[in-house]
């Protein structure tokens, strides 16, 4: 699609004007537009082709000291005006909140936009033949196997544009592309089960997608590793978490690391800045300017300029995610209200080296369900994987849980791999924890 950035800026600016005319004192507006294409090939049949373009306008309104947020995809002039008028009227009946105001202008981006390397001009020019060629390449790796009941291969690409403006001087645009491909496969297990697994990868560039051959190979080997899965043991031992799965643990750990959760009394990160909460092995930085990073961005949802933000250094909490509203309530300087990419400090070894060198452990390949309490840190997750004994991988096990507390767990972190998962914004590596409680048969 032709670059609509200036159109989006105009659209956002027009929305600001509409809201001001209706009586808003301050307004933040964003406008976005995206094109998505998805192809799915299942057992040799082109099962689904979907192409679409979506767009919307979002507003944050500050009216008489009151606050509200709105979005619409009905952009016809009359509809938009009616929508904004009603939004402003709705805001007036709320209670005033003195902590609600636009973030200070000095926190907005200034100067040249950072080079984020998140656009590949090859993505919007992908055509049916190019997408089919990749699907067929995955197909050739997935067909001809007697144990395969069904497989699905897919490719999904998009191009998105957005613009944000506010009445305090913010004005910015963002443009990104993405291309992902992958497959999933279901196998026949002689015992009657039908183990399945998937492998998807991608990023902002065409070259971010994994090789078709690798997709097929990894899907099959991962699913085959589940053949004959038995119930795991009840045991207290070391836990090694695969890079593909460690991101879920990190998401649970960082979920309550926000001013919002802390101010609301629902976070075990309360009063933690400056404290050593976790193992020295844990060092994490939020990195919104990472070149090519999945969640790289010039500014966040409020317009705060992106900068690297150390979260944990050698186990000591350095920062939490602070948006301007809850920051004001807590008396904390805003950092950013939402996670972008994570950067890790690894210990120099990858999963294979770590597995080969362990005496006794449960190696977690994937999670199934489970949850954590952000207030206390108590968690319980279902998992699948293998028992490792003297560096040797045992048969597949599953139908088991791991239970504990996230603070204790990350205090018992003994090793961080240098093998961050490339297909997720957490870039999470292999993680090793000591003395973990497993429940099995």
């Amino acid at each position: 699609m032709p670059d609509p950035s200036s159109l989006l800026l105009e659209r956002a600016t027009a929305a600001v004007e509409l809201a001001k005319t209706a009586g808003a004192a301050h307004v933040h507006a964003s406008a976005s537009q995206a094109r998505n294409v998805e192809y799915k090939l299942r057992d040799g049949i082109l099962e689904k082709v979907q192409e679409d373009t979506s767009r919307s306008v979002s507003l944050s309104l500050y009216v008489d000291g009151r606050y509200s947020r709105h979005s619409t995809s009905d952009l016809r002039a009359a509809s938009l005006k009616a929508f904004v008028d009603e939004a402003v009227a709705m805001t007036r009946v709320l209670a005033p909140d003195p902590d609600r105001m636009l973030p200070p202008a000095e926190l907005y981006p200034s100067g040249e936009a950072p080079e984020l390397d998140v656009v590949d001009t090859g993505v919007p020019s992908l055509d049916r033949d190019a997408r089919m060629a990749r699907l067929q390449a995955m197909q050739s790796g997935l067909t001809g196997h007697e144990d395969v009941i069904s497989w699905t291969a897919g490719i999904s690409d998009s191009e998105s544009f957005s613009a944000a403006v506010n009445t305090n001087g913010l004005s910015g645009t963002h443009h990104a592309t993405s291309a992902w491909c992958g497959a999933e496969v279901t196998l026949q297990d002689p015992n009657g089960a039908r183990p399945e697994d998937w492998f998807w990868g991608g990023g902002h560039h065409l070259k971010s997608m994994p090789d078709a051959e690798e997709v097929a190979r990894r899907c099959l080997s991962q699913a085959r590793a589940r053949i004959g899965s038995a119930k795991g043991p009840t045991a207290q031992t070391t836990m090694i978490v695969d890079p593909r799965s460690s991101g879920r643990l990190i998401a649970r750990l960082l979920g309550p690391a926000s001013a919002r959760s802390i101010q609301q009394g629902r976070s075990f990160w309360a009063d933690s800045v400056g404290q050593k909460l976790f193992s020295e092995k844990l060092s994490l930085t939020d990195a919104p300017l990472l070149k090519g990073g999945h969640n790289s961005r010039p500014y966040d949802g409020e317009g705060l300029a992106s900068r690297a933000l150390p979260i944990v250094e050698n186990g000591v909490v350095k920062n939490v995610y602070v948006d301007s509203y809850y920051g004001r309530k807590l008396g904390m300087t805003p950092t950013t209200g939402s996670r972008s990419n994570l950067q890790w400090v690894g210990g120099g070894r990858d999963l294979a080296a770590i597995l080969a060198d362990i005496d006794d452990a449960i190696y977690v390949t994937s999670w199934l369900g489970g949850n954590a309490d952000g207030t206390t840190g108590d968690f319980s997750f279902g998992l699948r994987g293998h028992r490792i004994t003297k560096g040797e991988m045992g048969p597949p096990i599953g139908e088991m849980n791991v239970t504990g507390n996230l603070i204790d767990l990350f205090a018992a972190l003994t090793e961080v791999g240098d093998d961050g998962w490339p297909y997720s914004s957490s870039y999470s590596p292999t993680l090793v924890f000591d003395g973990v409680q497993f429940s099995g048969a």
């Binding site: 099962e47 082709v49 279901t186 899965s229 849980n401």
Partner: protein
């Protein structure tokens, strides 16, 4: 992108279309055209005319199709939040558009547009129709029909949400907050979230049938933080359904406040159960999550059609005790998962999945029903016009069994009761499922002895079904708001269960 399925009590948060009236007018004339069209339904709801819709249908069917449809949708959501004693945040959103679909055998061409101009819709129709390669019959209706809908008025509201102003909601929010605050001196913070939604849906099939209705949805959420000394605990409770504002009475607000505070206070005394396999009693109501994960997903026909479900090829087999009858129903009035017709225009119904212990039916959309040569069960659902429909659950529950709750508790020497839940998940092929218990109880020597919390449960679907050894006569539907996720699409569902004993499940505890 991969097939992860989960059920989560999510706090999805996202006002009035003037002149937006409530559902399909019924003023019959003739057997095939029982429900006559309003004067200009497309104009009234979507600002377009009938000729435009017919032109788009013609374009959609031009390359040939087995079937196909236009799915028009206009959704308006409103939310209001009270935090720290201030009702200081409201949101509203409107999404509208049309999804266009062409199906040929197992193949689907799909496109959507948010711009409802003839040009934009015809362009999207051509994109969707590109799946056709000219080898099937051209389909396009000469004339639109308005067929009768078998079940109607399942959720007709006295006052539609579009006619309810925010000022009508504020006193209820305030009341709930003050009720919760007053319940216990340890209550430190109370957060109340209100959410309501009004959806106008119009399905136009390629053979000319038009179905339309208004689908309301609402939810009231109460989150409590309590402090005792250095200890902080938080929990929440919610009420949801295809309900109007009159549902949220003082009595209901009182019950919700009481539940949220009680479940929070109980966490101070809660411990972790022992680790390992043990009997698990599922309390009546929310425990329907067991059926959703252990049985429901595995019986969605799409997984069985391609052979990836653990239940594939098991239809008609005995899978549970005689007293086990499991139903997925679209026609439970005011339930979150209720639907008069599904998102393909098929009549909804009550579908027995397991009848007296025997597998009785899959849940079908049009594609799978054609594959199996059966009638669709009205289970074809989609998150929005941006998504293709697929077989989904609606309201899944188990009927009464022959036992009593007291008998069941007395029968367990060492085990747990699962009472409230936050989420669940299943692996279709292996049959392994999980659900997360927020609040429960320990049972020792046939008696309830202590509260427990934060426990994940894992089992295997077919095994757990066989291990349902007792079921009580106290079946009830949960009142909370559940959203089911499948292939990246979330749809509202409901669930229910009588008190049930599963003789053996894996309990995520500590210190075996």
């Amino acid at each position: 992108m991969h097939r992860r399925r989960f059920l989560a009590a999510t706090g999805a948060v996202t006002l009035t279309m003037p002149g937006f009236l409530s559902a399909c007018g019924k003023s019959g004339s003739g057997p095939e055209l029982a429900a006559a069209p309003p004067a200009d339904p497309f104009a009234e709801w979507f600002g377009i005319d009938t000729a435009t819709v017919q032109a788009v249908l013609a374009e959609l069917g031009a390359g040939g199709a087995d079937f196909g449809d236009l799915y028009f949708q206009h959704t308006r959501n409103t939310s209001v939040k009270m935090e720290d004693g201030i009702i200081g945040e409201a949101t509203s959103s409107i999404t509208q558009g049309v999804g266009l679909r062409v199906v040929i055998g197992d193949q689907t061409g799909y496109a959507f547009t948010e711009e409802l101009t003839l040009e934009a819709m015809k362009k999207a129709a051509r994109t969707a129709a590109a799946i056709a390669r000219g080898n099937t019959t051209r389909l396009s209706p000469d004339q639109l029909q308005w067929p009768e809908i078998a079940h109607r008025d399942l959720y007709k509201l006295a006052v539609p949400w579009s006619a309810v102003g925010i000022t009508d909601k504020l006193p209820r929010i305030q009341k709930l907050e003050s009720l919760a605050k007053a319940k216990d001196p340890s209550v430190d913070k109370v957060q109340v979230s209100w959410w309501d939604s009004e959806e106008r849906v119009m399905v136009c099939t390629l053979d000319g049938k038009v179905y339309r209705e208004v689908r309301p949805q609402s939810r009231l959420w109460c989150t409590v933080v309590a402090k005792k000394g250095d200890e902080t605990r938080s929990n929440s409770a919610n009420l949801a359904g295809r309900r109007g504002i009159d549902f949220y009475t003082d009595e209901k607000l009182g019950e919700l406040a009481d539940k949220a505070v009680r479940l929070t206070m109980r966490l101070f005394d809660a411990r972790r159960p022992p680790a390992g396999e043990m009997p698990v009693i599922l309390a009546a109501g929310p425990s329907g999550i067991l059926l959703h994960e252990a049985v429901g997903h595995g019986l969605e026909a799409d997984f069985n059609r391609i052979g990836t479900s653990i239940y594939a090829d098991k239809m008609g087999e005995k899978v549970a005790a005689d007293f086990v009858t499991v139903v997925d129903s679209g026609v439970e009035p005011n339930e979150r998962g209720a639907l008069t017709f599904d998102d393909e225009g098929n009549d909804c119904q009550r579908t027995a999945l397991i009848e007296n212990g025997r597998l009785a039916s899959y849940m079908h959309d049009t594609i799978s029903a054609r594959h199996y040569g059966v009638k669709p069960t009205g289970s074809g659902r989609r998150q929005s016009f941006k998504h293709v429909p697929m077989p989904r659950m609606r309201c899944t529950f188990m009927e009464d069994g022959p036992h009593t709750r007291d008998e069941i508790i007395a029968s367990v020497d060492k085990g747990i009761i699962a009472e409230t839940f936050t989420n669940g998940q299943v692996q279709i092929g292996a049959g392994d499922f999980t659900f997360y218990i927020k609040n429960g109880w320990l049972i020792e020597g046939g008696k309830i002895t202590a509260p427990i919390s934060d426990v994940n449960i894992i089992g295997n679907g077919p095994e757990a079904l066989q291990n349902i050894t007792m079921a009580a006569n106290d079946a009830q539907l949960d009142t909370g708001g559940w959203t089911c996720g499948k292939n990246g699409q979330g749809v509202p569902v409901s669930q229910g269960l009588p008190t049930v004993l599963v003789s053996k499940l894996n309990v995520g505890g500590v210190d075996a």
